[in-house]
């Protein structure tokens, strides 16, 4: 595979989210000698290893030592390099949280973190390897940009955009058995800009990561079977959040449903709720995720079904929400 080619030439159907990330990083690395890679004995699992194979002098596997991993990355950034760091989301956001906060975010360093195995994507591994807290943790770090791509192609876009974006960036991906959603990379990905994937005026499904694809499926079914007009927003960037897109959804659809593979505390739903609460606007608001408990064990598809994050779960939640009553705001129509 030659450098500098765009994504659509990659065999995206046969490549996982992380493999695509690894390939994009290699391509970036070919053109930008300031990029260095780091992992903590997960070079193979996170697919950053292909960067290491290609650029062994610019790759550091620090062993099973995540605190050192992020500290070393901070030092490399201080020396003028652009570190891309990959390990599992749970070790990034919890084990090494202080290094990410204090060494990287406080110093506002140009470190790009690609955290894998997020949410319930490694569900069979149990709570130690689940990560349903990372979005809450990372959002709370000043200077941090937080992105949760929907699939491998969006990951490719996010990785490229992160390189061009100054300062620390956290990109959350899964274990890479997630199905592909986008056909090509050419859909106008921009950090901080939500993407409307399905038009609608009755309700809006606000999603990120693995819930994007089933939400679009659900919107199609609800249109056909219920005659509902359901908007779907891919809010791939949680911070900075596209507040304008959220408020358009509130004023134009008046029912907001959040779907995220994360604790319902602190993640996408909380970020959206903050914006709505500050606006003074009322709307129906329903958060669906892992409901402030430690996630059950199981394969990701079973867990997503269990927590109502698959297509059927999303459809059921929309139907419930359509029956919710909420107080109308007299001035509402004037302001829309």
């Amino acid at each position: 595979m030659s450098e500098g080619l765009t994504w659509t030439v990659y065999d995206a159907d046969a490549m996982t989210q992380a493999e695509i990330y690894g390939q994009v990083l290699c391509d970036l690395g070919q053109r930008h000698p300031e990029i260095v890679g780091l992992s903590a004995d997960l070079a193979k699992s996170t697919k950053i290893g292909c960067f290491g194979d290609r650029f062994p002098q610019r790759f550091f596997n620090v062993g099973i030592a995540e605190q050192n991993l992020f500290g070393v990355a901070a030092g490399l950034a201080k020396a003028g390099l652009v570190p891309f760091v990959s390990t599992m989301a749970v070790f990034t956001s919890l084990r090494a949280a202080e290094q990410v906060r204090t060494d990287i975010c406080y110093q506002n360093l140009n470190v790009k973190i690609i955290a894998t195995h997020s949410g319930s994507s490694f569900g069979q591994a149990g709570t130690t390897h689940h990560c349903t807290e990372d979005l809450a943790v990372m959002r709370s770090f000043a200077n941090m940009t937080v992105i949760a791509p929907a699939d491998g192609i969006e990951t490719a876009n996010a990785v490229r955009a992160a390189f061009a974006w100054p300062g620390p960036v956290y990109i959350r991906i899964g274990r890479s058995f997630e199905p592909r959603f986008y056909d090509s990379e050419d859909y106008g990905f921009q950090i901080g800009r939500a993407i409307e994937l399905h038009p609608g005026t009755d309700a809006t499904l606000i999603c990120c990561g693995v819930t994007v694809r089933p939400a679009v499926e659900a919107a199609k079914v609800l249109s056909q079977e219920d005659g509902l007009s359901v908007r779907v927003l891919n809010v791939h960037t949680l911070k900075p959040l596209d507040e304008a897109a959220v408020m358009r959804a509130v004023t134009e659809t008046r029912r907001i449903l959040i779907f995220e593979d994360h604790n319902t505390v602190g993640g996408l739903g909380t970020a959206v709720a903050d914006v709505i609460a500050a606006s003074g606007k009322g709307c129906a608001f329903v958060k669906t995720g892992v409901p402030d408990c430690f996630c059950e064990v199981g394969y990701p598809e079973d867990l997503q079904s269990h927590y109502g994050l698959d297509t059927d779960g999303i459809i059921a939640r929309v139907r419930e929400t359509m029956n919710l009553e909420f107080e109308a705001d007299e001035d509402w129509e004037d302001e829309v």
Binding site: V36, Q57, R58, F60, V62, G63, A65, Q67, N68, F70, G71, V72, A73, A74, G75, L76, A77, K78, A79, G80, L81, P83, E98, Q99, T102, D103, Y106, Q107, N108
Partner: protein, 278 residues
């Protein structure tokens, strides 16, 4: 090369000034980590006056040597030295700890010129210093990185993660110091959490160890020279120091990890420093 008598005299004069400065800023700030700042004086002074290739007019000069003061609570002494080296006006330090001052107890590299890494949370600095050293190597640059750890800080597991990696990556362009003043907040290091045999621990992690009197400029110079020329393994210099060094009523007294000074105590402290250099 051994220090000349004239060099030692000049270094001592700088150290004496720095001890006065630390006492003054402790007074201005209302309270500071004075004990650990005083134990570190000779290490900071010899690095800045004799070893670091730096340009205070260009604190971001890419090819400068780096220093990571991992025991960030020594910020009061570190800031004073940076001011005396010309990074900023010494009088600014009258605002130490005050509302919106750039100077808090643990220095912020984005606010204080000359600070290569923002530290304060213990156990972070050696990892960052290693990253800098590897960064120099990746870019084929010859500048050197120095890191100063506290001894109590060596309780932190992350110090040993970084030590393991420093040896593994053979980062011989990094010199590490341990300010071995033997006291931490709650008491003697060996009572709170034993570190000994500390030198053996570093050796076991792949370091070449030099143990010196951390207040003896000649001994420090010899060890630093060795670290700069030794290429088989990274070098750690365990600098045996006295917490509160130079102020008789603070020396080896665990209560002076942190404290404030009123006018009387400032006078007593300065008189004691004067005696040290008499």
């Amino acid at each position: 090369m051994p220090l000349t008598d004239a060099q030692i005299t000049a270094l001592k004069a700088r150290a004496k000034q720095l001890r006065y400065d630390i006492i003054d800023i402790t007074g201005w700030s209302g309270g500071a980590h004075i004990g650990g700042a005083l134990s570190l004086v000779e290490i900071l002074v010899i690095l800045y006056d004799h070893y670091l290739t730096i340009d205070p007019a260009r604190p971001d000069w890419p090819e400068r040597d780096r220093l990571v003061v991992s025991k960030g609570h020594a910020g009061i002494g570190y800031a004073a030295l940076l001011a005396r080296k010309g990074y900023f006006d010494f009088e600014l330090l009258r605002d130490f700890n005050k509302f919106k001052s750039p100077f808090g107890m643990h220095l912020d590299g984005n606010k204080v010129r000359g600070v290569d890494a923002s530290t304060g949370s213990l156990g972070h600095g050696l990892s960052m210093a290693l990253g800098m050293a590897l960064g120099a190597r990746v870019q084929g640059q010859s500048w050197r990185t120095y890191c100063i750890l506290g001894d109590g800080e060596c309780n932190e597991g992350s110090v040993w993660e970084a030590a393991m990696a420093t040896a593994h990556f053979k980062a011989v362009n990094l010199t590490t110091f341990v300010d071995r003043n033997r006291l931490m907040i709650d008491g003697p290091t060996e009572e709170v959490m034993g570190l000994e045999p500390l030198a053996d621990k570093w050796r076991a992690f792949g370091f070449e160890v030099r143990e010196v009197d951390g207040h003896d400029f000649s001994a420090l110079a010899e060890a630093i020279d060795f670290s700069r020329s030794h290429t088989d393994a990274p070098v750690v210099i365990i600098a045996h120091t006295v917490k509160g060094k130079g102020v008789d009523f603070m020396e080896n007294d665990v209560r002076w990890h942190y404290g404030g000074l009123d006018t009387d105590l400032i006078a007593r402290a300065k008189a004691s420093v004067e005696k040290l250099y008499a």
